[in-house]
Amino acid sequence: MYKGYYRKISFSLLGFGLIVQFLIGCAGYPIPTRPGSPPVPPSTPSPRPLPPPVSSIPRPEAPSPPISPPQPETPSYVRIFPKFVAIIAQPGDTFSSLAEKYLNDPSRDWVIAEFNRIDRINPGQELIIPLKLPDRGGLTLQGYQTLPVIVYHKFSKNSTDTMTVSENAFEEQMRFLKENGYRVITLDEFFDFLDFKIQLPRKSVVITIDDGWRSAYEIAFPILKKYGYPATLFVYTDFISSGRGALDWTILSEMVKAGIDIQSHTKTHRNLDRKNPQESFQRNFEAIIKEIMESTSTIKSHLKKEVKYLAYPYGDTNPFIIALLQKLDYRGAFTVQRGTNPFFAHPYRIRRSMIYGNFDLHDFEKNLSFFTHYDLQEKDTGIAEEKELQ
């Protein structure tokens, strides 16, 4: 009988003590606010609505994204300074949630991971979130970042040839990117990097698909969606809706809504660097203009989107074509010269590596080099090292 009585009393005392302790705690600490993350019960994730097209996703101003204005009551586990924020990681904090809160962009989660040189956050960990990135263009005294751009053409369920990649191989390659910490970036981000405006994740890669084959939708698109990877389709507009295994404008429109970018691969896939023997110089000039401008206007009219990048048919170009693209306000253009691109790469001669159907993962990886070691402090570099910059 007494046992039960004492238990009740001790529970009441414990409860009272805790309340007192709690009130003292209230006086001692500011009320911690967890902006944007009110506690929610665990639930099954509901299907997400389709995101806006890539080009319409607002991106923070480079190079230094605006930060949230200091809150009047900053929790004790956060200190905000003009150039960085120091925090003590809380349970539930993730790189994305912190990036969203302090860098106004959850996609900048890698900034926190790379600066603190960690690949996971442990509660209680003290972290620095730099508000301005130190190594724009991925340039350091030890070398510079290079960006691989990979290009596919056709896909198939099973069979492969040089230009056709099987579904399994494509899936395997996308998984490889994910498992090895690569981030797939958009063309706009790629060109911001070339403009030395931003720093990108150390291992960044661009995915492009040329021509406009239907298999890009039937095979590649579901896999890209699964991994959340943005990609750019360079289509030649005469091929679209032509039957013959080509994509049509309705499908392209669906892909655009899902975040796939569509850009120009000319009108007829004519080699812009070759002149027909019977053509006069002026006729050739007019034909090139038509190849570029008509493809642009067709894409614009069907998809209501900006066209500012071109993939040269057969990857061939010359200074005259480049001058024309500049005149026509194209921001950049892509060859198929294998290799990766530092920030000082020529924007109208971007290197791309073709991924062939017979590539294994080792071959695939060889095209993903993301850093060129070049000790800038080494005074007497000699010829060999200078060659490295080529």
């Binding site: 806006p52 929790p75 960085f84 993730t94 340039l139 975040g259 200078e386």
Partner: protein, 385 residues
């Protein structure tokens, strides 16, 4: 670092929540066991919106807040060490940021303040010096070295716009010719002058935002796109075509052809800057190829055809000459060895030594003649019954 986890039992959470205040109550000291999944390894993305990630596991106990007993106390020391490490590596900008972190936590400590002041000054001086050196290299057409200097400037001062322009332009072929008009110039005459074809006059208004037929005024800077062989209707051996062929050959690393066409162009116009550049680049790369194969004599021959102010040619030639001088001395040793073999009537060995002599010094005054003499002698000996 010693952590304390402040946990409010679920039973009290509701009560505390009803009061409208979440707070920190030290209950247990262990850090939570479950580490969150790394963000870089999320399972589901949405195309074009990388940041969106798999919904994170909500915190089991919503009001569990974690702080250290002495928050951020260890950070200044950590970043002090990091900053010093960066200083050792001469990575001044990262060192500066490290000290700025220290200073933010220890505003009254004079050490970070002083280091910030010193590093800021040092960075400015380094950037200025490297920029100056970059310009010097650039003016001497030593573009590789120039680019290296400008890259260093950008590591110190990423906002240095001029350095950025130099980095991007150092090796980039200009896509346009620039032409300043003179009194009496017409689109036709300019096209004739630049392309050797007056019918290309329509390019001038198109690329210079002029109306068709609009006369051009003197002192206008016209942009004229470069035209390559594939686009040139006129075939033959015009200056333009030789320059184009030289460029194409250089790009495809056929240095022999590149210098051939560049020299042909220079026969027409001896001061043609572009042809001269290609000639220099062609011989330079050709020399480099020989150098990589350790064919020093051939390498020297190529480097000597490059303008001495081009890149680091002067240094390379000096180094090669020094090296070949040493090689000459060695060649002489081999020659003398050959003589000894000859005296000892070991003719094959003598020939071998003299061949080595010639490999080391192709201009050796006697080796070649002696080899021929000994070969003749051998033939005669074989003929003798």
């Amino acid at each position: 670092m010693k952590l304390s986890v402040l946990r409010i039992p679920i039973s009290l959470a509701f009560f505390t929540f009803s009061i409208g205040c979440a707070a920190l109550l030290p209950i247990q000291k262990e850090a939570p066991e479950e580490a969150p999944k790394p963000e870089v390894d999320r399972k589901e993305f949405v195309i074009g919106k990388k940041p969106v990630q798999e919904p994170e596991k909500p915190v089991a106990e919503p009001f569990r807040i974690l702080i250290t007993k002495a928050p951020f106390q260890s950070l200044p020391n950590k970043y002090r060490l990091i900053a010093k490490e960066f200083e050792k590596r001469n990575d001044l900008r990262n060192a500066l940021f490290g000290w700025e972190i220290v200073n933010s936590f220890e505003p009254d400590n004079p050490e970070p303040i002083q280091r910030i002041r010193e590093l800021t000054k040092e960075i400015r001086i380094h950037a200025e010096n490297h920029f100056r050196q970059g310009l010097e290299h650039f003016q001497r057409k030593n573009f590789w070295a120039a680019r290296r200097e400008f890259l260093i400037v950008l590591t110190y001062k990423p906002d240095h716009e001029t350095a950025l322009i130099y980095v991007k332009r150092s090796f980039r072929e200009e896509d346009y010719y620039s032409y300043i008009t003179k009194e009496g110039d017409t689109p036709k005459s300019v096209a004739q002058q630049i392309y050797g074809d007056g019918n290309k006059d329509f390019l001038i208004p198109y690329f210079n935002d002029l109306k068709m037929g609009e006369p051009i005024k003197p002192e206008m800077r016209l942009k004229l796109p470069k035209i390559q062989i594939a686009l040139t209707a006129k075939q033959g051996t015009s200056l333009e075509e030789n320059v184009n062929r030289a460029k194409v050959s250089l790009r495809s690393r056929n240095y022999e052809k590149a210098v051939l066409f560049a020299e042909r162009a220079l026969e027409d116009v001896p001061n043609h800057w572009e042809a001269n550049d290609i000639k220099n680049a062609g011989y330079y790369e050709w020399g480099t190829q020989f150098l990589q194969k350790k064919e020093y004599w051939n390498s020297l021959r190529m480097f000597k055809k490059v303008d001495e102010n081009y890149k680091n040619v002067r240094d390379i030639v000096a180094q090669l000459e020094r090296r070949l001088q040493e090689q000459k001395a060695t060649a002489e040793d081999y020659y003398l060895k050959g003589v000894k073999h000859f005296i000892a009537q070991e003719l094959d060995e003598a020939i071998h030594e003299w061949e080595v002599t010639l490999y080391l010094d192709p201009q050796h005054p006697r080796a070649k003649k002696d080899i021929e003499k000994v070969r003749r002698l051998k033939e005669n000996l074989q003929k003798t019954p």
